[in-house]
């Protein structure tokens, strides 16, 4: 990435003090020894113009703290921070909007809060309303809006403030599919114009699709950083390694590009659950997809990964292709295979790519975990479905 970074954090740390609920009397006269903890620490991060950087991690990992620090509302306790002048945070649904005011009044106020002058607001007002698709209701109080209209208006204001850095919080997770698509398209367009984006999300596939780089936070500290796909994979490994007792887990059901994996379900011939499969079982996996965008034809790839030993086998659907789908369409793909692997822990991995393999549309690494019981007397990697027979030979 060339050029000066828009946003630089070096060794940034934020410490919170845990105090019991304070009243003025107790607070002033009884100084309790407060416990403190680092909600964020040792964070180094750069965002260059035109770059989308994802921040992932489970709840409590420090994502919100980082957002506050990045937006400039919270002062870090250590480290250095360099921020651009125009930062547009997406204001939470319902937060910046006053329900009694009309859409018009709320737009005027919120756009000014995000840094536009009254003149600029007037100039961009029609664009904001048009993008949000709420023109017909703009003079009604927003308490009469549906939550979708609310959200569209909020997003529309943020993306029309021409920020240098856009901070996208979890908002995308709540919108319907056409809205998510438009948001993602808009973010892509802003990226093309050189806007930097900080993207905080639980939707790993959205992070994979949108982000150039990502950082994984755990207990306030960055534990992985780099290429988004690698960091997402690192996160998934951490999650799956903790999932003992819950063998099937669709790690990520979040929105992806054109297609979304809604559900994955696997059974063997005898119908047992994936923790007690036997080598040699015939396994049937059903992937359910939804298109939230018109999607071209694609090919599906399936793989089996052994925990700690990498990919064991990988294959694609050959002549069978996913047909082009229209937005809103659902499709189920059934894949069957013989489980010729030795005992151990495995993950099912999949992806859908363009027919000529040029572009991956969606990937769902480690979407399902299963256990294969060891065949008595056998070790190794593959299962050869061994059998022995004995016959007496007369000479």
């Amino acid at each position: 990435m060339s050029g000066a970074p828009l946003f630089v954090a070096r060794g940034v740390g934020k410490r919170y003090t845990l105090r019991p609920e304070r009243s003025i009397v107790l607070g002033l006269f009884k100084r309790e020894r407060a416990r403190s903890f680092w909600a964020l620490r040792h964070l180094d991060l750069e965002v260059h113009p035109g770059e989308v950087v994802g921040v992932i991690g489970r709840n409590g990992a420090g994502k919100s703290t980082f957002l506050k620090v990045a937006a400039g509302v919270s002062t870090p306790n250590e480290g250095t921070l360099q921020r651009p002048r125009f930062i547009a945070p997406l204001i939470e649904v319902g937060a910046g909007f006053h329900p009694e005011l009309t859409g018009r009044e709320n737009v005027e106020l919120n756009a000014q809060l995000l840094g536009l002058s009254p003149k600029e607001v007037r100039a961009r007002f029609d664009d904001i309303v048009e993008f949000a698709g709420v023109a017909y209701a703009i003079d009604q109080p927003v308490k009469q809006y549906s939550s979708g209209m609310f959200m569209r208006l909020g997003f529309s204001i943020a993306v029309h403030t021409t920020p240098e850095l856009l901070v996208v919080d979890e908002v995308l997770a709540v919108g319907d599919i056409p809205f998510q698509t438009r948001c993602i398209e808009r973010i892509e367009a802003m990226r093309a114009e050189g806007v930097g984006v900080l993207f905080v999300s639980h939707s790993l596939s959205a992070v994979q699709r949108l982000c150039d780089r990502a950082v994984l936070l755990e207990k306030g500290e960055p534990v992985a950083e780099g290429d988004a796909t690698t960091v997402v994979a690192a996160y998934q490994r951490r999650i799956t390694s903790e999932l003992h007792g819950t063998p099937t887990e669709v790690v990520d059901m979040g929105p992806t590009g054109d297609l979304q994996l809604l559900d994955v379900e696997a059974v063997n011939t005898s119908g047992t659950t994936p923790e007690e499969w036997q080598p040699g079982d015939l396994v049937t996996v059903r992937f359910q997809f939804a298109a939230y965008h018109d999607a071209p034809a694609g090919r599906i790839n399936v793989g089996i990964e052994r925990d700690g030993a990498g990919m064991v086998s990988q294959w694609h659907s050959g002549a069978l292709m996913l047909p082009p789908m229209v937005a809103g369409q659902h499709l189920e793909v059934t894949a069957s295979f013989r489980l010729n692997v030795a005992g151990g822990t495995y993950f099912l991995t999949g992806s859908v790519s363009a027919v000529d393999w040029s572009v991956p549309f969606v990937s769902f690494p480690r979407c399902l975990r299963f256990e294969v019981e060891a065949r008595p007397g056998a070790i190794g990697l593959v299962d050869v479905e061994p059998s022995f027979s004995l016959a007496e030979v007369t000479v």
């Binding site: 304070r22 250590e78 002048r85 204001i91 910046g96 009694e100």
Partner: protein, 264 residues
């Protein structure tokens, strides 16, 4: 870890004009929201203290037979309406940061805008009170130097801003400050010459009330509306105390505001 080296590269401050425009927009919002659902709208801001003034005037003049103050109902009204501005303004400023917590956590704007815009919203409603006071003054036929309303409003607004910044900055960490403020304002109402004149008080109490900055401010309003003499000493005290509140309030706000986003 080395001694916490903190350098925060704060983006260059936007032009003051921008913040003034934003303050104005927030003030208007606060004003609009306040009476949006009431069918009489902002008339309530006038109706409420006017009724209260009439009741107080009736009780003291007819029931307790207190005499000696000319045009007593107008005198009470010219104290009650500015007092309502003061009390509502300080209360609104006190809770401003907590009530705007969603924005405080997200948008990097000077946080002082929130209490000041709360005061701004109340100030806009007070404009209706000023009209009522002027009408009463005209009807009474004893309108004084009306231009005194300008320094009165300015001085009072500065006082509310300074005091509000102070109470607001502590209300974020200690949420019971707002209740303490409400209680203090009830006491303040009686410690302010709203329905009595200072000469009715014993000398000790009179000296004590010198420290009440609303005393001088009310004397300005009454000079304008009722053509009463301006109590110069009281006004001087008001200016001094207002300045002190502004300095202390803004300093406290500056000091506390660093942690607002973490506490709301």
């Amino acid at each position: 870890m080395s001694a916490a080296a903190i350098t925060v590269d704060v983006p260059a401050p936007r032009r003051t004009r921008h913040w003034v425009a934003l303050w104005w927009a927030l003030s208007r919002k606060n004003f609009q929201v306040r009476y949006k659902r009431a069918s009489l709208g902002m008339m309530w801001v006038v109706i409420q203290p006017t009724l209260q003034a009439l009741v107080v005037a009736f009780v003291f003049q007819r029931v307790f037979r207190i005499t000696g103050t000319d045009r007593y109902p107008a005198f009470v009204l010219a104290g009650m309406l500015p007092w309502a501005y003061f009390a509502q303004g300080v209360n609104a400023a006190t809770t401003a940061i907590v009530e705007n917590s969603a924005l405080v956590k997200k948008v990097a704007v000077p946080l002082l805008l929130f209490p000041l815009a709360s005061v701004g919203g109340i100030a806009l409603t007070f404009m209706a009170s000023l009209v009522v006071m002027l009408v009463v003054g005209v009807v009474n036929g004893h309108l004084g130097p009306v231009y005194l309303l300008l320094p009165a409003v300015v001085l009072q607004s500065l006082l509310i801003g300074g005091l509000g910044a102070l109470t607001c900055s502590f209300n974020v960490a200690y949420r019971d400050v707002r209740y303490a403020v409400e209680s203090a304002l009830v006491i303040g109402f009686y410690a302010t010459p709203v329905f009595y004149t200072l000469d009715r008080l014993p000398p000790g109490a009179r000296r004590l009330l010198r420290f009440n900055p609303m005393d001088g401010i009310l004397s300005l309003y009454r000079a304008a509306i009722l053509d009463r003499p301006v109590d110069g000493a009281a006004v001087a005290w008001s200016i001094g105390i207002t300045t002190a509140f502004l300095v202390v309030g803004l300093a406290a706000f500056r000091w506390r505001s660093r942690e607002f986003a973490d506490l709301v």
